[in-house]
Structure formats: structure tokens, C-alpha cells
Amino acid sequence: MITREPENFPPPVGMFGALGRSAVFGCRETGRAMMLFVEAVLNLRSVLTRRARREVINQMFVYGIKSLGVITVVAVFTGMILALQTGIELRKFNQEVNIGAAVMVSMLREMGPFMTGLILAACVGSAMAAQLGTMVVSEEIAALEIMSINPVRFLVMPRLAAMSIMTPLLSFYTCMMGVLGGGLVGMTQLGVSWEAYMRNATRFADMKDLYVGIFKAFLFGMIITTVSCHEGFATKEGAVGVGMATRRAVVASFLLILVVGYFITRMFYYS
């Protein structure tokens, strides 16, 4: 939902007044972000047109493929750290061969989607908020509206479609790179052969871990897109406003990824 009308409110009275107003504004912005998400989903049907398909593929490249470099480095080192930390402890009990299971399960269930979500929130979410915010400030969004081109269909829908496809794929890639990194540490530092590492890794992980991880990543992709586009559209004042919108988009995406991640884990693994 795009708002352009300026707001004229008297300053809040006292601490409770300020807190109350923050709470009301928080609820209102959440509602607007939800409405933006629903409108983008309703516009997904236009993805069948050739122009929209081309735009979705372009967004998949810009936001997905171009993030591969940073994701690879973060994933490999996350796997290496996980393997090293668990391996050091397990070695005390001569159980270092079990690092395979520890790395695989951690990556599939939590670290894969979580790390992917955080990286995309920082790289992609900030870029989305900054781009849309700049478009608001330079009146490009207003120009689209006057041409009767729905900015949500034109700008948000392709990003939402691209992110809902790319985030699960990138999360799976992160998991595989993490497992690879763990295996490298196992072979070079802990004396665990690659075969033993992989046998152990595949024995303890099951398909549910993979599905839940992919589902989480899918949700994270939608959260990042919705929050970032909403913050971009809500940009108010020039370059400063774009900076603030970008910061709010990254912070809100990070927090939501953490909170939603916890509840998904609880829903699937704690009953």
C-alpha cells in the first residue's frame, strides 16, 4: 500500500502517549505491509504475461544469482565453524565421526535457511528498499500511478515471485556448501574421512529436515520482499528518508526471520 498523504499529528503527551502512538503506528504499518503482500499475491496471475515473466527472471538473476558469491563464502565457513566446534567437543569422547550428522542436521533445519535469510535481508532487502525509496523520492512511483500502471503489480509482484523461488534454492545451496565446508574441516583437522563424514551425515538427517528448511526459506523470502517493498514505498524525505527506509527494512527483516524461524521450528519439532 502506497501512502503519499502527509500526516499532521500533534506531539504525543508524555512517555505513555509516545509508547501508545508507537504501538498504534506499528500496528498500522504491519497492516499496510500485509495489504501490500496480499495485493502482490493477487497480482501473481499477471506473471503469465511475457513481460512479467521476463521481469521475474531478471529479478531472479539480480537478487538470486548475484548473491551466490557471498552466500558461498558464508555457507562454507559456517559449516567449517560448526564442524570444528562440535568436533573439538566430540573428540573428547572419540566421537568426532559424528560431526557429519551435527553439520547436516544443523544446516538443513536452521543454519541454511537462517543464514540465507540474513544474507538476503542484508543484500537484497536493503537494495529493494533503497531502489523503491529512491523511486518514490524521484516521483517515478507517482509517474507509474498517473500512467495507470499499478506499482505493486509492476514492481512488487516480480520481486515476490523471484524471491519465493530463489530463497529456497539458495537455502538448499547454502546447506550443501555448509556440509562441504564441514567435510573439509573433518578431513583436514579432525581426521574424519569424507566417506565416513557423508555416511554419518546422511544417516541422521531425514527428508523432514529438508522440507522444513525449504519451507522456512520460502517464508523468509516473502518476509524480506514484503518488508523491504513496504519500507521503500513508505519513504518520505529525500536521501535521508531512503537511508532510514533501508535501515528499517533490514532490521525488521532480521527480527522477523528470527521470530518466524523459532515458531516454525516449534511447530514442526516440538509437539
Binding site: 503519499r4 498523504e5 502527509p6 499532521n8 513481460r51 523511486m135 524521484s138 516521483e139 517515478e140 507517482a142 509517474a143 500511478e145 498517473i146 500512467m147 495507470s148 500502471i149 509492476f154
Partner: protein, 253 residues
């Protein structure tokens, strides 16, 4: 054609528009002048519902755009073209793609028809050799002309110009003035121009309105505007070295 009925708008702690009433006639070039921050661009934005009045209505051919919603709003907006101050071109598209955008998104024309129309419109604004360039690769004046091409490619009945000549060299500014005038003469387009540039206003305007303190303090033809005795108008004219005795001719072709 466009009528402001007791329109008021409160912005940044003051009434930028305070019970403003005026009417723009079909086929005329109506110019709104005034110092910075008096609500000229705000008035323009009310005409296409980028802003809504706190009080009053903006009527477009008998329909209140201030109260229109959804399809009705889209239908009324289709009658408008809008040239933004900075051109408002999409940065990742070329000039030609920007100009083609409304046709690609809102019409069923074939690719060849769109390309022909884009070439014709770019030629009209003198950018036929710059279609492949990105907005970041062209000058401010060229961006404005590209914005104008995009605004007029759908043959709108009404074109709104927000500071069309600001920041341009005098030669390019006069070229823009000629374009605005030729659109009126050749296509019968109704133009609403917001500007600080009194030379431009007096050249292309058929009627000039001056906004000051939230009110229209003068609304008349260019000759009467130059001779106006309103202190706000006199101050504005004299700041641009235009005297009551000076003669102004519509020497535009």
C-alpha cells in the same frame, strides 16, 4: 474542464491551499506562478489525485477526481499526461523504453506499432537519436523532453507540466515552450503549467494565476498580469525585471 471548488490543503503546519476556487478551460494553456512553497505543485498533484484535498473538490469534466476510486480514478487519469520536474524516468529502462512504457502496459498495440509511435514522439521532442540511452546518460533538459514524450505518447487531452523549464538553459527552455504551444495548436491539448519562469509563463500562458498565502491573488491574461497592481504580483514581476511598461508578445511559433 478542471475546476477547483473551495479546495483546502494543510501541509507542514499551514494551509498551502485555503478555499481555492478556479477553473481551467478546455484547450487553453493555464499557467500557475508564485514563489516557492506556495502550493503550485500541490495544486497540480490534486488534479490527478496524487494528493487529495482536506476540504473541497477537484472536478474534471463534471466528475470529482477527489472522490473517484479504483477503475473510475484510472479512467480519469487516462485523460492526463504529467511532466514531472525531474522527468521521473525509470532509471533501468532506456529513453525509448520509458516512452514506450504506457503503450506496452495499457494498450494492445503490436511491437512494430509501438516502435513507430515511439520514434515519432521522440522526433517531436528532438530525441530521435537518443532513444537507446539510459536516463543517467542524458542531460537534465533531455530528461525533461523524454518525460514530455512519455507524457504525450498516449495523446492525452490534458497535460500537466511541473516546472518544465526550471534548470534549463534559455535555448532549451524556449524549445520546451514551443513544444507546449505546438501541442495546444496542433492537437488541442489543454495544458496546465506550473513555473517560476515568468518569461515562459507570459509567452505560452493564455491565462495566468498567481498563488500566494494559500490564495489565488491574481487570475487574468498575460497583458493584464504584467499591468497588475497587486503588490505580490508586482514584486514577483520586478524580481524578474519585468516592468508594467514592458510589452509582451506571444512570439512563439
Amino acid at each position: 474542464m478542471i475546476r477547483f471548488e473551495r479546495v483546502s490543503k494543510w501541509l507542514s503546519g499551514k494551509f498551502v491551499l485555503d478555499n481555492v476556487d478556479f477553473e481551467i478551460r478546455k484547450g487553453e494553456t493555464f499557467v500557475i506562478v508564485g514563489p516557492s512553497g506556495v502550493g503550485k505543485s500541490v495544486s497540480l498533484k490534486h488534479m490527478v489525485r496524487l494528493l487529495t484535498p482536506d476540504d473541497g473538490h477537484v472536478i474534471v469534466d463534471g466528475e470529482s477526481i477527489s472522490d473517484a476510486s479504483g477503475d473510475e480514478l484510472a479512467r480519469i487519469r487516462k485523460r492526463f499526461g504529467y511532466l514531472f520536474q525531474g522527468g521521473a524516468l525509470l532509471a533501468w529502462l532506456s529513453v525509448a523504453e520509458n516512452v514506450a512504457l504506457p503503450l506496452r502496459e495499457k494498450t494492445a498495440l503490436t511491437n512494430d506499432e509501438i516502435l513507430a509511435k515511439v520514434h515519432e514522439t521522440l522526433k517531436l521532442v528532438g530525441l530521435e537519436n537518443d532513444g537507446a540511452k539510459r536516463p543517467g546518460e542524458i542531460s537534465g533538459g533531455m530528461r525533461k523532453r523524454a518525460g514530455l514524450a512519455r507524457a504525450i505518447i498516449t495523446n492525452p487531452e490534458i497535460v500537466l507540466y511541473d516546472e518544465p523549464t526550471s534548470g534549463l538553459d534559455p535555448v532549451t527552455a524556449r524549445t520546451i515552450d514551443q513544444l507546449i504551444e505546438s501541442l495546444r495548436v496542433k492537437l488541442g491539448v489543454t495544458s496546465v503549467v506550473v513555473t517560476h519562469d515568468l518569461h515562459s509563463a507570459l509567452t505560452i500562458g493564455m491565462r495566468i494565476a498567481m498563488l500566494h498565502g494559500g490564495h489565488i491573488v491574481e487570475l487574468c491574461d498575460p497583458d493584464k498580469f504584467v499591468k497588475s497592481s497587486r503588490p505580490e504580483v508586482r514584486q514577483f514581476l520586478e524580481a524578474q525585471f519585468i516592468t508594467r511598461e514592458g510589452s509582451w508578445e506571444r512570439n512563439i511559433t
